[in-house]
């Protein structure tokens, strides 16, 4: 009797629930009809490196949304994404990688850790899992050798190319390479793999030029640098190449340099420390600091269009829309442009236009990237990213950087895209290092050509 009453009373509810469920499954089935391409976003939005993470991944997400809203996806394939918080921590990055790897029946095709520690932690999983590791100007440098690292790319330059460009810029300022003899360069770096990454190339160049190279490490998080800067004064350094991470460390370097009276016009910042968020906290002291850029800041036509289309519709990812067009944001857009272009290539090569591509197909598309000036203009980022072309063996892209200088309010671009002065030399270093790695780990060396 009682059960009867309960059942009778609950009947409408059960029916309603059932109906709702049926509608939901039907609509999701209808949605599955539409082709989708899934991307995993391992963002780092909290902690000392949050300025980097929010800007970079914000740029990526905005561009994916932009492609969906403006062009209806890539040849009709909608771009979807899932996010996971890594806190810029290698262990959490591994967790995120595994979490993002599969979504429903879709598999992630590309991973971008925005950080060397995370890249090193997942780099071995790329080949077995068929995922592309797209290192946008960071990460393992010798992965630029596609014979040993088929799944890893370094499309926006790497640290060895960057240090060569910077040292060349110094030589220009000093009046030629022959004038560099006897000069002292201090490499002030955060004491991690990322901070040490440029050192092999730097040592070689310094030896060749007769430059005295002093390496000084700052333990993370690098908020205290007094003794290091006093040492720099003592050594009478002519130039400082600064390899920091996180806006706290980066702005501390400037303020401490100002306190000990080291000229900021002799300091050169790395790409991952040279953004507005790193300069502004240092105030007027930052004026004159040089920065190398692999994505230039500014409101390029594409960025303006993203503002119009995505932010106009209230769908922007940046909490502070003022940051659209800054260094980190544009770098994220540049990275996402590469993903989308690679996906277009993959669809074309494998005859799957209008269809979802797999990791292996995506990899082929990424390797076939040939971004010319015309192409950049068509996308609307001419001047923001460097033109580049990749091949089976050559997995580093442009190897070109723009030098810029902080004027107290914004960055002034000083040069156009400059290549490393002696690319064959850097290439030789990369191949030696990659071959050594392949030998140690019994990896096959792919035949290219």
């Amino acid at each position: 009797m009682m059960i009867d009453t309960i059942l009778r009373r609950a009947m409408p509810g059960i029916f309603a629930l059932g109906a709702a469920f049926a509608v939901a499954t039907a609509s999701s089935a209808a949605m599955a009809q539409e082709q989708e391409q899934y991307f995993g976003i391992p963002s780092s939005r909290v902690g000392p490196y949050s300025a980097m993470g929010t800007g970079y991944y914000g740029g990526i997400i905005d561009y994916l949304n932009y492609v969906n809203m403006k062009h209806g996806g890539v040849n009709g394939v909608k771009l979807t994404y899932d996010e996971c918080e890594t806190e810029y921590n290698a262990a959490r990055t591994v967790e995120c990688y595994q979490r993002l790897l599969n979504k429903g029946d879709q598999k992630m095709v590309v991973f971008d850790t925005l950080g060397t520690p995370g890249a090193y932690a997942v780099i071995g999983r790329m080949a077995p899992d068929n995922v592309v590791l797209a290192q946008y100007g960071y990460g393992r440098t010798d992965a630029a050798d596609g014979r040993v690292w088929p799944w890893v790319f370094n499309a926006a330059g790497h640290y060895w190319g960057q240090i060569a460009v910077k040292m060349n810029f110094m030589a220009q300022k000093e009046g030629g390479i022959d004038k560099m003899k006897g000069k002292t360069i201090v490499h002030l770096h955060i004491d991690t793999a990322y901070g040490r990454e440029p050192i092999p190339a730097m040592r070689e160049i310094a030896k060749e030029w007769g430059v005295k190279l002093i390496e000084i490490a700052v333990p993370p998080p690098g908020l205290e640098q007094q003794s290091q800067w006093l040492q720099i004064r003592r050594e009478k350094a002519d130039w400082v190449t600064f390899w920091g991470a996180g806006s706290g460390m980066n702005s501390t370097a400037i303020t401490t340099a100002a306190r000990v009276g080291f000229p900021r016009e002799k300091m050169m910042y790395v790409t991952f420390g040279g953004a507005e968020e790193d300069m502004i906290p240092a105030g007027d002291a930052a004026k004159g600091t040089y920065v190398a850029a692999n994505a230039a800041p500014g409101k390029f036509p594409l960025i303006q269009d993203i503002e119009k289309v995505v932010y106009g519709a209230g769908k922007g990812n940046m909490q502070n829309p003022q940051r659209v067009g800054t260094v980190y944001y544009n770098r994220g857009v540049g990275a996402a442009v590469m993903w989308v272009e690679a996906m277009k290539n993959a669809q074309r090569i494998h005859n799957k236009v209008g269809k979802t591509v797999t990791g292996a197909e995506f990899r082929d598309g990424y390797e076939a990237l040939d971004v010319t000036d015309d192409k950049l203009k068509e996308i609307g980022i001419l001047g923001m990213s460097a033109p580049f072309k990749m091949s089976c063996a050559k997995h580093d892209g442009s190897e070109r950087f723009r030098m810029m200088q902080w004027d107290g309010k914004q960055f002034q671009l000083l040069t156009d895209w400059v290549p490393a002065p002696n690319p064959a030399f850097i290439r030789k270093l990369i191949e030696e290092s990659a071959e050594k790695y392949a030998k140690e780990n019994n990896l096959p060396i792919r035949q290219c050509s």
């Binding site: 899932d82 979490r99 932690a121 991690t192």
Partner: protein
């Protein structure tokens, strides 16, 4: 009702001093182990195995090591991540430099290396106590990471300072898939946990606890403080070292000093405090909480709010909630999860009758 021990008589010393005196506990443990060995690896997917279960087991092992030192022997130490680094690098170098060394032997020896380092850094414990000792052990953390960074030999002169861990090869088989790695980790963690439990309830453990509760009294009763304290440091560091080697080889697959920062040391300390000082079970529960709660919150927030709420806000919120949970938990149950489980057991014994 569920935990009634009526009718279970212990008629011999052996029965009285066995590991799990209650039949319910024995049956429960057997079921858990059976599930962990034979069911979980086939039910869980790669994500669960390689991103959740493996790091959880490894960190539980490290937390057990920390618990031996802090919970049982009462020596406040902050260097556990440093000892993990010693283990990881020792294992890497042993496999690299000694041709054909079995993985298990390398793992054991890396634990021994960590134990030796632990003894050296445990020496100050003979003269200083409490918080002062924590500060002294902090030095080990910084010194070890600095030394590994400074001397290229440890890293085989790799320019980036990040080394790829060698594959785990035992009995001619490469344990590469998450499932195989899980078995390796489970086996080692289970064996070492059993050993820890045994030590804790035997004379070794009682000596530690005597030193913890009042070292002067323990000395008067004839315990050698030198021996007991250094033993605790050595065994604790051994656990941390093995854990560190597993962390590098079975989880991260890279060996780098910056993975073993002071941050990790603190997290291990929190695992022990939240889990319950001086309990083995607490190490597992605490490791689970500290490791998995942020992940759970992250998954939950992304599932619940999706893209409707700014991800920067949810990421910050997760940290706030995690912090609040810790505070609330410590207010309501300062003795940790292990105590909570004990209370639950007592309740279950009476349930559903109140008296």
């Amino acid at each position: 009702m569920f935990y009634r021990e009526a009718g279970q008589f212990r008629t011999s010393y052996a029965a009285d001093s066995q590991l799990l005196p209650l039949r319910q506990d024995r049956v429960g443990m057997a079921i858990i182990l059976l599930l962990a060995v034979a069911v979980v690896p086939f039910v869980a997917n790669d994500y669960w195995l390689s991103a959740i279960l493996i790091p959880w087991l490894i960190l539980a092992l490290v937390a057990t090591g920390q618990n031996i030192l802090m919970g049982y022997a009462g020596q406040l130490s902050l260097g556990s991540a440093g000892f993990m680094a010693v283990g990881a690098f020792a294992c890497y170098n042993l496999i690299l430099r000694i041709d054909g060394i079995p993985f298990l032997l390398a793992l054991f020896l890396s634990g021994i290396c960590a134990a030796l380092v632990g003894i050296v850094f445990g020496l100050p414990s003979l003269r200083i106590r409490g918080l002062y000792l924590a500060v002294a052990t902090l030095a080990s953390q910084f010194f070890i990471v600095w030394a590994l960074d400074k001397f290229g030999w440890f890293k085989n002169y790799d320019p980036a300072g990040v080394i790829t861990a060698q594959p785990i090869i035992m009995f001619g088989h490469n344990f590469a898939s998450p499932r195989e790695k899980y078995w390796v980790v489970l086996l080692i963690v289970a064996a070492l946990t059993l050993a820890a439990k045994n030590m804790a309830r035997g004379s070794t453990g009682r000596a530690w606890m005597a030193v913890r509760d009042m070292d002067v009294a323990a000395e008067v009763m004839g315990l050698s403080l030198l021996r007991t304290k250094l033993q605790a440091f050595a065994i604790s560091s051994f656990y941390c070292g093995v854990g560190g080697a597993l962390f590098a080889f079975a989880y991260l697959q890279t060996v780098e000093p910056s993975a073993f920062t002071i941050d990790l040391s603190f997290r291990i300390l929190f695992m022990v405090i939240i889990g319950g000082l001086g309990t083995i079970l607490g190490s597992f529960l605490g490791a689970g909480f500290i490791l998995l709660m942020p992940v759970f919150l992250n998954v939950f927030f992304h599932k619940a709010f999706g893209k409707a709420v700014d991800a920067t806000i949810t990421s910050a919120l997760e940290q706030v909630i995690f912090g609040v949970l810790i505070i609330v938990f410590l207010i309501f149950e300062p003795l940790g999860f292990a105590r909570l489980w004990q209370l639950t057991k007592e309740r279950l014994r009476l349930w559903p009758f109140r008296h």
